[in-house]
C-alpha cells in the first residue's frame, strides 16, 4: 500500500491548487476516468472546508490518500472548522447550490462524514477495476 499525507492551509482560492497537487500524484497510478472522479470529490470536499468549515478564512486541512494497488483508493479529508451539516439529498432542479455532497456520494463507492475531536472528517473509498490501473511497475 502506498500512502500520501498532505497538510496545508485551505482558502477558497487555494482549494483547487491543493487538489491539483494530489491529482498530479495519483495520475501515475490510475486512468483518467478514475482520476476525474477523485478530482471531483476532492474538490468538493476542499471547497466544503474552505467555504463552510472555515467560512472563507484560512484554515488547516489534511488529506490522506491510501493506494491499495489493484483494489482501491482510500481518501480522508479533515479540517478543524465548524461542524458541517450534510445536505444528503439532491436539491430542487433550479436551486443554485447544495450539490457537493450528492456528487461525493454518487462517484465514490463509500462515503462517510463524522465529527471527531472538533474536526470534520470526510472518508471515501473508490474501488478501481484492474483495467483502470496504469502500468507503473
Amino acid at each position: 500500500m502506498l500512502q500520501l499525507t498532505l497538510n496545508d492551509t485551505v482558502t477558497p482560492c487555494r482549494a483547487r491548487m491543493i487538489v491539483r497537487a494530489v491529482k498530479s500524484f495519483l495520475d501515475t497510478f490510475v486512468t483518467s476516468e478514475v482520476l476525474f472522479d477523485i478530482e471531483l470529490v476532492l474538490t468538493e470536499s476542499c471547497n466544503n472546508s474552505a467555504l463552510h468549515a472555515y467560512q472563507g478564512l484560512p484554515g488547516e486541512l489534511e488529506i490522506k490518500l491510501d493506494i491499495v494497488e489493484n483494489q482501491q483508493v482510500d481518501l480522508q479529508v479533515r479540517d478543524w472548522g465548524r461542524e458541517f451539516q450534510c445536505p444528503w439529498n439532491l436539491p430542487e432542479t433550479f436551486e443554485e447550490s447544495g450539490r457537493g455532497i450528492y456528487i461525493m456520494r454518487q462517484v465514490m463507492h463509500t462515503f462517510d462524514y463524522s465529527r471527531e475531536n472538533d474536526s470534520n472528517v470526510f472518508t471515501f473509498t473508490k474501488r478501481v477495476e484492474p483495467e483502470q490501473w496504469k502500468e507503473c511497475k
Binding site: 477558497p12 482560492c13 476525474f36 478530482e39 471531483l40 468538493e44 443554485e96 450539490r99 457537493g100
Partner: protein
C-alpha cells in the same frame, strides 16, 4: 488573461469560457455576466467546449444563468459542452434541464430573430 471571449452576432450573444468553472473563478464570472445581462440579446449561448473541469459551484453558476435568462424571457443554451461538463451535469441529473447545441448555425436556425 481574459476570463471569457464574447461575441454578439445579431440577437445571439456567445460567451466562450475556456477555463475551469470552479469555486475559485465563479464570483469573477458572475461579475462579468452581470454586465452581459444589460444587453438586448435574445439568446445566450454559453460555449463550454474548452472547459476541462466543473465543480458544484460551476454547476450552480450555469444553473443561475439559465434561471435568470428564463426569468427575463430570454433563451439560454449550452454550446458544444466538453465531455467533462456533460459527465458532471449528468451526475447531478441536470443534463436534461439545458438546451444543448453543437454549433452556432444550429442555434440561429432553431432560434431565429423575433
Amino acid at each position: 488573461m481574459e476570463r471569457v471571449q464574447v461575441e454578439e452576432k445579431g440577437h445571439v450573444l456567445t460567451v466562450d469560457i475556456s477555463q475551469e468553472v470552479t469555486m475559485e473563478v465563479v464570483n469573477d464570472l458572475k461579475k462579468d455576466f452581470e454586465g452581459f445581462f444589460s444587453g438586448s440579446w435574445q439568446v445566450l449561448a454559453l460555449d463550454l467546449s474548452e472547459v476541462s473541469f466543473m465543480d458544484s459551484a460551476g454547476i450552480g453558476f450555469v444553473t443561475a444563468l439559465n434561471n435568470r435568462s428564463l426569468q427575463e424571457g430570454r433563451i439560454f443554451c449550452l454550446l458544444n459542452p466538453s465531455e467533462q461538463v456533460i459527465k458532471t451535469l449528468k451526475l447531478v441529473n441536470l443534463w436534461d434541464l439545458f438546451q444543448v447545441h453543437q454549433s452556432l448555425d444550429e442555434i440561429f436556425r432553431l432560434y431565429p430573430a423575433e
